[in-house]
């Protein structure tokens, strides 16, 4: 039954490079994700909840993403308060910058770790077998990583306010808004690129190189809004930064949700 196949002879150099027909030049279409998966929104959200719950249970037993990463973030703050001129007139700006550097590195470390765990034992392959649209798996991972990062921030911010001697007072609402929106965009892009990074030769080590250039506007807006909050500025005076964060978040989450099914497709 086997049809004989003629392979191109590569041992001798042809006098002229053969003219390829269009089919050969184009090659096969790359495989693409299949059609809609049954299950609907309700089943999808349930699956997202289960994925997040699985990550939380894992965390309750290992304390990696909040415990160890939180310690790392705290050490960045402490090191920065020795390394930078704190207590001077620019203290609010320095405190805001330090806080966001700590959040950036800590969240990248934590997200890289949780995504690596996912692929180590073939867990993601098993998850992909679930009869739900794959976007929901991403939402589950995102929810868990968001919770971890917010938990780390809740420890980080009071320590920062103490160490850098910045009163927050009337800027509290702005501070919370900047932290919330900034964290959403950062963790969103982190989760998106972690799926990619974990399948590269360098593994999670590539994650910062992918996230940090794209996240430049997010860092600028977050640091500016946080710095303003630490000098007691209100939300109203900093609407433009918050609007920019909302725009960035919307862009990242939209691209992530649309692209995720393709990224995990084998």
């Amino acid at each position: 039954m086997t049809t004989p196949v003629t392979m191109p002879d590569v041992t001798t150099t042809p006098a002229r490079i053969p003219v390829l027909d269009q089919a050969t030049i184009a090659g096969p279409v790359h495989p693409r994700p299949g059609g809609r998966v049954p299950g609907g929104v309700r089943a999808g959200l349930r699956a997202a909840g289960l994925v997040a719950a699985k990550d939380l249970r894992l965390e309750s037993r290992t304390h990696d993403a909040v415990g160890t990463v939180g310690l790392f973030a705290l050490l960045i703050l402490v090191t920065a308060s020795f390394a930078l001129p704190t207590g001077g007139p620019d203290r609010a700006g320095i405190a805001a910058g330090t806080l966001w550097m700590a959040i950036l590195f800590a969240s990248l470390l934590g997200i890289g770790r949780t995504q690596a765990l996912e692929s180590e034992e073939g867990c993601l392959d098993a998850l992909l077998l679930a009869p739900v649209a794959r976007e929901y798996l991403f939402l589950g991972k995102l929810a868990a990583s968001l919770l971890f990062t917010v938990a780390v921030e809740m420890a980080l911010v009071p320590v920062l306010l103490l160490l850098m001697q910045v009163p927050v007072g009337s800027g509290l609402a702005l501070l919370l808004a900047a932290l919330g929106l900034g964290t959403l965009g950062l963790v969103g892009s982190g989760c998106l690129f972690a799926v990619i990074a974990v399948r590269t030769r360098m593994r999670q080590a590539l994650l910062p190189a992918l996230v940090m250039p794209v996240a430049v506007p997010l860092m600028i807006a977050s640091v500016q809004a946080t710095g303003a909050a630490l000098t007691g500025a209100t939300v109203g005076a900093n609407m433009h930064w918050l609007a920019l964060l909302v725009g960035f978040d919307a862009m990242v989450l939209l691209v992530a949700v649309l692209a995720f099914p393709q990224l995990v497709e084998e």
Binding site: I25, A26, V214, P217, I220, A259
Partner: protein, 246 residues
């Protein structure tokens, strides 16, 4: 959904560039030579800025081609994600390398002009910073491509970064604009027409044309290269499949 359907029937317009490679190369060489003579010898130097102003004639065309290249990456990436046609990935990868090349040119020629005119090589001005960030994004695009060996994964991953990186450009620009605000205003496209002498404008247009031709010439070469690489990989993979060794 498997990779069995062939693309033979679908037209891929950029492939036409390959046929025009040689004329494009000759036209680009002629344009560059004409630009060098005009910009360095024929057109009068700026009354205030003096000779450094001549950098303008390569700086602005480089910036234009840099943006053009990155817009091509964006469009090709979107089309790849929608169709799964690997030829769009060839185009995106071919154009991304050129985008980095020309944006690097912008970042090198800018400071050479800025030092005598502004008194500093670099300032954190919105347009400079945006270009710098753009350059970083596409460096990470190239880094990502080098890090993924499987061609299907490489195409998908880099397409996502290509899309996100381009959508990020206006957000970067706004953020930096509100953060710091020194680059000369636009002088060509304004409400009351170009604000520069006709000879300068003509030289600039010559520069834009020469650089665009140069880009298209390089793009044709890189497109052919990307295609050859992909086909070589596919042939290897097929051979391995047939021997049952993969």
């Amino acid at each position: 959904m498997a990779g069995t359907e062939t693309l033979a029937a679908k037209r891929f317009a950029p492939a036409g560039l390959l046929r025009w490679r040689r004329p494009l190369g000759l036209a680009a060489a002629a344009g560059m030579a004409a630009l060098a003579v005009t910009a360095l010898l024929l057109v009068a130097p700026d009354a205030v800025q003096g000779p450094p102003q001549r950098i303008f004639y390569i700086h602005v065309p480089s910036a234009w081609v840099g943006f053009l290249a990155l817009a091509v990456v964006f469009v090709a990436s979107v089309r790849y994600l929608v169709t799964g046609d690997p030829r769009h990935d060839d185009l995106a990868s071919a154009s991304a390398g050129l985008g980095v090349l020309f944006t690097t040119g912008v970042l090198l020629t800018g400071p050479l002009w800025a030092r005598p005119v502004w008194g500093a090589y670099w300032v954190w001005d919105p347009r400079l910073t945006s270009f710098f960030v753009l350059w970083l994004v596409y460096l990470s695009y190239l880094a990502l491509r080098r890090q993924v060996t499987d061609p299907v994964r490489r195409a998908r991953y880099s397409a996502v970064l290509g899309v996100l990186g381009f959508l990020d450009v206006p957000i970067v620009y706004m953020s930096v604009n509100w953060w710091r605000g020194m680059h000369p205003e636009q002088v060509v496209i304004t409400a009351d027409g170009p604000r520069m002498p006709a000879a300068m404008l003509a030289t600039l247009l010559l520069g834009l044309a020469a650089f665009t031709l140069f880009y298209l010439y390089l793009l044709a070469i890189r497109l052919g290269l990307a295609r050859a690489r992909r086909l070589a990989w596919a042939t290897d993979a097929t051979a391995a499949d047939m021997e049952g060794t993969r």
